[in-house]
């Protein structure tokens, strides 16, 4: 009888191990292509808390550089940004992150509020697959799924990615059990320069009010921050492309929301010149996103605001913290100058 049990347990263990191995093998690794897919999971390697936490879409992970914020202002920060991070992704990521640390300020980029419903499975995967299993992840999956997606495939991604066995590449074997770091505390560096901005008329707005669903999640973020004693700061990155245009009507709505709840809201679009952004040199894709040179300028500008208006202190006299950030800064400078 005992032998039977041992045999059953061994078979079960072998099956589970095999399935886990197969899942690890077929999951996309995002190490050489579409690196933004690796951002969410990378956070869990972080050992210390931070003064500032950024949440939002590509406009956060391409516009602010935590090593610069440390170097110039002694402020520690992390960007929990991801590609097309929608308001409900941001809320649940914030909820999850506040279980690991309690920053002084949470910065949320408002562009994604224009989306009132789930958009695309590919983006959901980039936002959700990297999250550790938690109640926040489960709630995030439920809020995010498009019609054709299944809840089970998020809990057991093997169900979703099994067909990838036909396209397995060297990367899938190389990063089977580990990942390289792709970001600098959530900042995904772009050193290319592809300047100039197209003079395109923003397509007409069909609805001048931001969707109720996304505004409801902004309200949840605000309430969560209030409850936990974290200051919520709203921003809009200075980029303002035809495709991802921030309309004046939306700006007015967010300004009113911020006023009502006594939140700070910084729309950097009209301040681009004052920040020193040069659209010929500070973008890697004709003004859609900032490159590292533009991001450093914006970070420098925003660091002053965080220090002067939000009371964040320079923590460079903390020797242990300085040692950690000296290492981060060295890696950042290496990649920037490579």
């Amino acid at each position: 009888m005992k032998k039977k049990w041992i045999c059953c347990c061994c078979i079960l263990l072998a099956t589970v191990s095999l399935l886990a191995f197969l899942q690890a093998l077929v999951m996309p690794k995002y190490m050489t292509k579409s690196k933004e897919g690796a951002l969410i999971a990378e956070y869990y390697d972080e050992k210390n808390g931070h003064d500032v936490l950024f949440v939002g879409d590509c406009e956060v992970y391409e516009s602010f550089t935590p090593p610069t914020l440390w170097e110039e202002y002694g402020i520690t920060s992390y960007i929990r940004g991801s590609a097309q991070q929608l308001a409900w992704h941001s809320y649940y990521l914030l909820e999850e992150t506040l279980r690991y640390e309690m920053p002084k300020v949470v910065v949320y980029n408002v562009l994604a509020l224009k989306y009132g419903e789930p958009q695309d499975e590919a983006y959901n995967r980039l936002n959700l697959d990297g999250m550790k299993l938690s109640t926040s992840k489960i709630k995030a999956i439920n809020a995010s799924m498009t019609e054709d997606e299944s809840f089970a495939s998020y809990l057991f991604p093997l169900l979703r990615y099994h067909s990838r066995w036909k396209e397995l590449a060297g990367e899938d074997w190389q990063y089977l059990f580990h990942r390289d770091r792709v970001s600098h505390n959530g900042y995904l560096m772009q050193t290319r320069v592809d300047g100039g901005r197209a003079d395109i008329t923003p397509p007409p707005l069909s609805d001048s009010t931001l969707p109720e669903t996304s505004m409801a999640y902004l309200e949840k973020m605000r309430a969560l921050c209030e409850e936990t004693g974290v200051e919520l700061v709203l921003i809009k990155a200075p980029t303002n492309d035809w495709k991802y245009h921030w309309y004046d009507e939306w700006d007015a709505q967010i300004t009113e929301y911020a006023d009502t709840h006594e939140l700070a809201y910084y729309n950097f679009i009209p301040s681009a010149e004052e920040i020193g952004i040069d659209w010929n040199t500070d973008t890697y894709d004709k003004g859609v996103h900032l490159n590292v040179y533009g991001a450093e300028k914006l970070t420098s500008y925003f660091g002053a605001i965080l220090t002067e208006r939000h009371g964040l202190e320079n923590r460079k006299d903390d020797a242990a913290l300085s040692a950690v950030w000296a290492e981060k800064l060295a890696l950042y400078v290496d990649e920037r100058n490579a």
Binding site: A198, T201, P203, P204, D207, D241
Partner: protein, 174 residues
């Protein structure tokens, strides 16, 4: 006599059922035809169906004065916009092929820019309703006509009861 009555009843039922089926089929066909009309914009005789391959259409339209492309936040595919004097054509790319994703009428500088049904910037709301009939969705700011056959919609935007913008949109891309 009773048998004959029953036969007659069965016959009548069959005829009625056939007529109903015919009515349903013809009704569906009519709806599809109307809907399909909502999915094609035309300019100077060039038909621009929403969701169609863009290359031949763009060639027929001639060079756009302004062109821009934007990478999505993720991936290698680019969305492009071709801006003509009074309208824009937006495209997406899948597998190296560009498809029409959105058409927007943005101003009335060119007077011949209008929908095939004659709606243009400045047309009164009641005239739009007379042309297109009952919309799928309605608000003060917009009338929306869904086209289920090719997953697109025609969206007509208003301010002060007059058209300020016309958009043909593909609801799913790729």
């Amino acid at each position: 006599m009773r048998k004959d009555d029953e036969k007659m009843k069965k016959m009548l039922c069959l005829i009625l059922a056939a007529m109903c089926l015919l009515a349903v089929v013809s009704c569906e066909k009519e709806n599809d035809e109307t809907a399909a009309a909502f999915a094609v914009f035309s300019y100077n005789g060039v038909q621009i169906p929403i969701g169609a391959e863009a290359a031949p259409i763009l060639t027929a339209l001639g060079g756009a004065p302004k062109v821009a492309s934007t990478a999505s936040c993720y991936g290698d595919d680019f969305d492009r916009i071709y801006e003509y004097t009074s309208f824009q054509v937006e495209t997406y790319t899948r597998g190296g092929v560009e498809y029409v994703m959105k058409i927007s009428v943005i101003n009335d500088i060119e007077v011949n820019v209008q929908t095939p049904e004659g709606v243009r910037i400045g047309t009164k709301r009641e005239d739009v309703l007379a042309v297109y009939g009952t919309p799928t969705e309605e608000s003060d700011a917009a009338l929306v006509y869904l086209n289920s056959s090719n997953q697109s919609k025609l969206q007509i935007l208003f301010r002060n009861g007059a058209v300020t913008g016309i958009q043909y949109l593909l609801l799913t891309s790729g």
